[in-house]
Amino acid sequence: MVQEYSSILDWIVFNDPMKNPYYPFVDTYNLPFDIGYKLWEILGGAIAWLINLIFPGNPVSTWLVCDATSTLMGLLIFMLLIFIIAFVSTLIVLWMERKCLGRMMDRRGTMVGMKGFLQCVADGLKTFMKENTAPKKVDKMTYWWCVSLIVGLSVLVLCMVPLSQRWFVVDYQTGLLIIMAFFALAPFLILVSGWAQNNKYSLIGGMRAAELMISYEVPMLILIATTALLAGSFNIGDIVNAQNETVWYIIPQIIGAITFFFCATAEAERVPFDIAEAEAELVEGWQTEYAGMKWGLIMLGDYMRGSVSCSMFAILYLGGWTLPFIGNGPIPEIVFLLKSYLVFFFMILIRCALARVRTDQILNIGWKVFMPLSVINLAIVLLLKVGGVF
């Protein structure tokens, strides 16, 4: 009997991923997973067809296109996709800062390829080529692990920020709290790595990171609680939808928005709150002993946290991925990214215009300015809520 060769189209079948019994996102449509799933259906189907040509009727081919494998592979591609988009948006933030800062300081900024965008590739290569040195007297385990943990946490937080209703990793009911919790972990690790490096500059830098944290973390949490109170939920999607139905929360919470902006600047350790790595007096602060790619990764992690800060501002006060009168629109992800870039632009302006504050000044600002302002903001929101406006 002559073996019937099957057509490739018998193997590439476009199924609805939501009909798949192993679908990981319960009842909600997820665009990146959809893309990943479809990509695997094409790729896996082609591979399965090829294997089937050589070994007709083998079990591997059918395994490659079954529901469970498709979901698994779809998830892998989904993770890659989420990370690449988050990474590229961070690189855009980095490029934006260099170019805008250059323009404000009356110089050109980066000039390597694509209007200077490829400078970050060049920098990455350069730091990667450098010798990976570690000082003799550091505490080896904490020294090495702190880099991984700080960068890992930054990547984690960055990937957890949803870009739209359909572009998310997990849709927790307490998503806002989880993001802020992971976000706030990095300063602890900075403190630990400051100890681990066995260097006086790093030690002072680490202690300063702790000092910085206690001054802005409390007002920031109050502000987040206020927004959650106004929206009636800790779910990010609910907060954005609530803003879409009423007004952007920057209008009732203008005081809170400004305070949150500065707290977010401090969270991302940017000028004027970069006291933990104050280069004028502490060389490079807590990063002093990190050389080569370790430093490059830490720098990347800093920008990732900066980009998360801006995204959080866009979610909490600028209506996330929605636009007034339009709502979700065709590509809400782009709208969301543009909003967070707008917030970052203001951070660049601040970096350009201000000097670094002192440690005692930042404690004063945190407890005597940010704290009362966030409580006033809470009181206004409570009045609005009780008065039935929202």
């Binding site: 404000m104 009356d106 002072i204 004028a280 060389v283 350009c352 201000l354 000097a355 670094r356 000044q361």
Partner: protein, 381 residues
Amino acid sequence: MMTDSIVPVKEMEDRMDTDKMWVIMGPQHPFSHGLWTLKVQLDGEIVTDAEPIVGYLHRGWEKETENRTYPKIIPMADRLCYAASMTYTHLYCMTVEKALGIDIPEKAKYIRIVADEVCRIQSHLMWLAAVGTDLGNLTVFLWCMREREFFLDLNVKLCGARMTTNYPRIGGVRNDTTELFDRDIIRAVDRFEKAMWDIIALIDDSSIFVSRMKDISFLTREQCANMGLTGPAMRGCGVDFDIRRDDPYDNYDQVDFEVPVLTKGDSYSRYMIRIEEMFQSCDIIRQAVKKIQALGKNAPYRIKTPSKVPAGTAFTRLEDPRGESLMYLVSDGTDKPYRLKVRSPIFTNVSTSKAMCLGCRIADVPAILAQIDMCLGETDR
């Protein structure tokens, strides 16, 4: 009897063995503009002791001059300070002229005044740029450097070099002002006076900048006198003294200018003095350029001088951008100096760093010491 708190804080502090820690800032440290070290003792973040260490850049300048003929020392004097090369060359030529007992032409005196004030403005701009980076802002640095370029261009116009100018000569200056130099310098000064307000707005309108400098690091007049602090930093502490006005050299008595003095004595007043000095320098330049124009195109700008200096000593001082610089020449009648002693303003100014930093936080140390305006070439010589 009321107690302050339930916890006996004082007793606990006494019992706790809190160590003070020496942090060594330098010689390769972003805060030290050049090779010098500041050892600071820290109690937490508070500075409890400080000790400057200089001498990394010692080149034996004074000894080297003893093996050179007088004209050959002029380009060496340029290298004393990269930011204020003109004043040091000027000072050296003045010292030798005094030893020779000659008087130089009027025009050379005014040209030297113009060159000195251009040098003062660009040196102060360099200082302002350093203040910006020490306080953590790069915009101030780049804007000041941009403004400074116009004055370096004037140097090029006058003598062909940007920084090590090699321009004054014993008995005058090397060349007359070049064509259209008068027009260019007035334009540069006019432009600078406008552009300076942008930088001032960036710094003085920002409460962060001001709060980093205000009410820290007080120095009294007595401390200035005891430690030998001179220059703008001294005038910021309430001492009303400027060599250009009180012991005038080279026709400085013919131009009209004010010496800014502030009595508060903190870091911010030292900053304000230098800013005001730049505007006063602009006034001096305008007047001196008018005098040069009045002298006419063919007025002499240099006289011939003998190569051998008669035996004896000469001593001159001059208001450098950073303070009072002084040269003491001992001649034995040959064409080489027997001894040439330089008193650098920063070498004494930096010894006040302990008094300045005591009780401040480590974050303030760069901002305070920026007011000294370190230049290691002249300090270590």
